[in-house]
């Protein structure tokens, strides 16, 4: 298989044509960024070199800024061009073994990605058992700060997986996902403040109200698709935030405080249970049991979400979503109700945001509209895109990386957004399919006939 060895591919075939066009090509590759830089500086010229003073209504010309302008513009142009060149040389698609190359005849061995091979190996079950125990014990041995970070990461895993249904699986670009997150959080905050409803009652109610909102907002969305869908959902997100800021029951921009953590059978954990556990020497004196409980709840939720999304993806409904993503016209031609598929994906995706919202409210005990800005939507979307559209392990990794890394790279704090942006650009260039590419269900021969490949060869299906 030519694609197996990473060394041979790009170099040889690319370098071979050493013909007359070569000098011209080099000249072009120098001229192209220069041209772009020139345009960029022309456009930016008035913005950078003129200073407009509002009081005097006068414009000042600042010639000393010109060198800086040229440096930035030409630098950016060259950098971008270099990026394109890098992509051409090393990016996907240029490796040897074109996609049309057919595998050996008659051999139907499912080709598994490394993640899938990991998931299917016989070490997977014991390993995941150990991992589960580790994850369950983790909050007891971590600092309260650490537990908080883990909760946040798990919340974002849940959010990412929910959005993954909408964006990754169904291909509906939703830029207003945070609205449903907000609805979940506010459902708990308001129902608790007004009616004293407990966390456990509000958890399903929060998920339900987000689902309901998803359904209602989903109805007009049936008429739009593609970029328009993105713009409309973006609008929904902003409208939701504005509504939350401006109505009385949410207490406007001041938000709602004193949202209680969940209780376990009516016990106040830190008052009644903690001394007991401390005496047994099971926990650290600094451990906040409320947070530990929240951690365990969201851990459970995340695990159930993984299971649910996995099952959905390999069901009739999930396949209809995938078909919708792949080709809107063709999916209808095989009998998939396009409107129905869109609506269920949008509605169901919102459910998880509502769930995560309730947990979020109980975690930080104070919410206001500022917790639910467009940047949050972008963050969740980035998790899905970075991790891998439609890929469950990808989304989990994406959430862990985007939430945990910044916490541990504090010294980069000032450059966080910069690094974030850089990471996204590099990802888009080198691995547009995300960290972990989504792998589809692999079928095994059921009753292979003699002479048609070797059934014992094929890897296990599921």
């Amino acid at each position: 298989m030519p694609e197996k060895d990473g060394k041979d591919p790009t170099g040889a075939p690319l370098r071979r044509p050493r013909e007359k066009g070569r000098g011209k090509k080099i000249l072009l590759s120098i001229l192209r960024p220069l041209k772009a830089g020139l345009w960029l500086s022309l456009v930016a010229f008035p913005l950078v070199t003129f200073k407009f003073e509002a009081e005097t209504r006068q414009a000042h010309f600042l010639p000393e800024r010109i060198p800086l302008l040229l440096l930035i513009c030409f630098g950016a142009a060259v950098a971008f061009d270099g990026l394109g060149w890098l992509k051409k040389a090393f990016g996907p698609g240029k490796r040897a073994g074109g996609i049309l190359e057919s595998p050996p005849e008659g051999l139907n061995r499912p080709r598994l990605s490394w993640v899938n091979r990991l998931l299917k190996s016989r070490f997977f079950k014991p390993a995941s058992g150990v991992l589960l125990i580790f994850l369950a014990v983790l909050p007891f041995i971590s600092s309260p700060y650490g537990v908080n970070v883990y909760i946040t990461a798990l919340i974002y895993i849940t959010l990412g997986l929910g959005l993954n249904i909408v964006v990754g699986v169904s291909g509906l670009l939703n830029l207003g996902y945070v609205a449903f997150y907000a609805v979940g959080a506010y459902t708990y905050a308001i129902l608790n403040a007004q009616f004293g409803l407990s966390f456990w009652v509000c958890l399903p109610l929060g998920a339900l109200s987000a689902t309901l909102l998803g359904f209602i907002l989903g109805l007009p969305l049936l008429r739009v698709s593609g970029d328009y869908l993105a713009i409309v959902t973006l609008g929904f997100g902003e409208i939701t935030r504005l509504v939350l800021t401006n109505i009385a029951i949410t207490n406007g921009p001041r938000g709602i405080a004193n949202i209680p953590p969940p209780s376990l059978f009516g016990f106040d954990l830190n008052q009644s249970v903690k001394p007991f556990l401390l005496k047994l020497g099971l926990i650290h004196s600094r451990t906040d049991l409320d947070k530990v409980l929240i951690y365990l709840i969201i851990l459970m939720a995340a695990i159930l979400t993984v299971a649910a999304v996995h099952r959905l993806e390999n069901s009739r409904l999930g396949r209809a979503w995938l078909a919708l993503r792949e080709d809107e016209t063709a999916c209808q031609a095989v009998g998939v109700n396009r409107a129905g598929a869109k609506l269920t994906a949008f509605t169901l995706g919102s459910t998880w945001a509502g769930l995560a919202g309730v947990v979020f409210a109980s975690q930080i005990s104070f919410i206001n509209p500022q917790s639910f800005t467009f940047m949050q939507s972008v963050m969740i979307l980035s998790i899905v895109v970075l991790g891998g559209m439609g890929s469950i392990p990808g989304v989990v990794c994406g959430a862990v990386i985007l939430i945990l890394l910044p916490e541990y790279l504090r010294f980069f704090a000032d450059y966080r957004m910069l690094l974030f942006g850089l990471l996204m650009v590099v990802m888009m260039v080198f691995r547009p399919e995300g960290l972990i590419k989504s792998a589809r269900y692999q079928h095994i021969y059921r009753a292979p006939k003699a002479g048609e490949g070797d059934p014992s060869d094929s890897a296990s299906g599921k």
Binding site: S315, A323, Q332, A333, E452
Partner: protein, 295 residues
């Protein structure tokens, strides 16, 4: 196909014409038992009339061709039948059974598919990143029932259905020579196999009428010959009727029992291959200077 495989998968060809109808194909009298007919169908795009008073009939169990020069309105006719376009005026009727007459005008596309109209596209439209098997499984969508509950809780009924449909899809792929490809992404198949897969996907829903839009486009001579066999096989094995758009005259003359000719949105001729070959209008309008093709 072996009879064993047929009895194992009774779903194949479900909703098809009554047994025996396929055998009589070609020997029917005019308008005896149509499975599809349009009446004065008209479709405009702005100032352009893509279909103008088109009245044509597809006999049950027949292989009927729809030919015409580029831009004649052939694909537009398919799109009207499958609900992608809503015809401006006129009507289309589909008769899955002899007495059951269903008007297709303005029906939503998935409804048309659920009624038993399968189709392929002129420029292949597969679900490229999904596997070959999944493509066919999605083709089975209309004959499956599982919903959200079944997906999440995987009850016995759902799993049973899932298994049955996987077997069925696999059998279809085997029948059309794609079994070695079940796990490959559909987009990675060579062109000819993609064409075949698209037909297999359309057959998975158990249609009684199959619309093929230029299935031979991009195929070489050998593949085109195989395609002719394939189309005849499909008609016989799946007991369905075929409406075929095609530019390749040898294929059209070879497989079809009736030919309809469109030109600038008008139906200018309709008849057996012999009649079409001799029709002066067709020779003039369709073939222009290159009239040798028909002979």
């Amino acid at each position: 196909m072996t009879p064993r495989a047929e009895s194992k998968h009774p779903e194949i060809g479900a909703g098809a014409a009554p047994a025996g109808a396929a055998e009589t194909a070609g020997a029917f009298g005019l308008d005896a038992d149509p499975i599809l007919f349009s009446d004065s169908l008209r479709m405009d795009f702005g100032g352009l009339t893509a279909l103008d008073q088109v009245s044509l009939t597809v006999e049950r169990g027949s292989i009927t061709a729809l030919i015409g020069p580029n831009g004649a309105g052939k694909t537009t006719f398919f799109n009207c039948v499958t609900g992608i376009y809503k015809p401006g005026s006129g009507s289309i009727f589909f008769l899955p059974e002899k007495e059951k007459r269903i008007s297709l005008g303005g029906l939503r596309p998935h409804k048309a598919a659920q009624l038993g109209i399968g189709r392929t596209f002129q420029n292949i439209r597969l679900f490229n990143t999904l596997t070959v098997l999944e493509n066919v499984l999605i083709g089975c969508h209309a004959r499956m029932r599982a919903g959200l509950w079944g997906a999440l809780f995987r009850d016995r009924k759902t799993m049973e259905e899932e298994r049955r449909m996987t077997d069925l899809s696999y059998a279809i792929l085997e029948r059309y020579g794609l079994q070695a490809r079940v796990n490959d992404p559909a987009g990675s198949l060579p062109y000819g196999e993609q064409r075949r897969l698209e037909i297999a996907r359309a057959l998975a829903s158990g249609p009684s009428l199959l619309l093929l839009d230029e299935p031979a486009a991009g195929l070489n001579n050998q593949e085109t010959l195989e395609l002719a066999d394939l189309i005849r096989h499909i008609r016989r094995d799946e007991k369905l009727s075929v409406l075929l758009i095609e530019h390749d005259m040898s294929l059209v003359m070879n497989v079809s029992e009736r030919i309809n000719v469109l030109d600038y949105g008008r139906l200018i001729a309709s008849g057996t291959p012999e009649e079409i070959r001799k029709n002066p209008d067709v020779v003039r309008a369709y073939l222009g200077e290159d009239a040798d093709d028909l002979g």
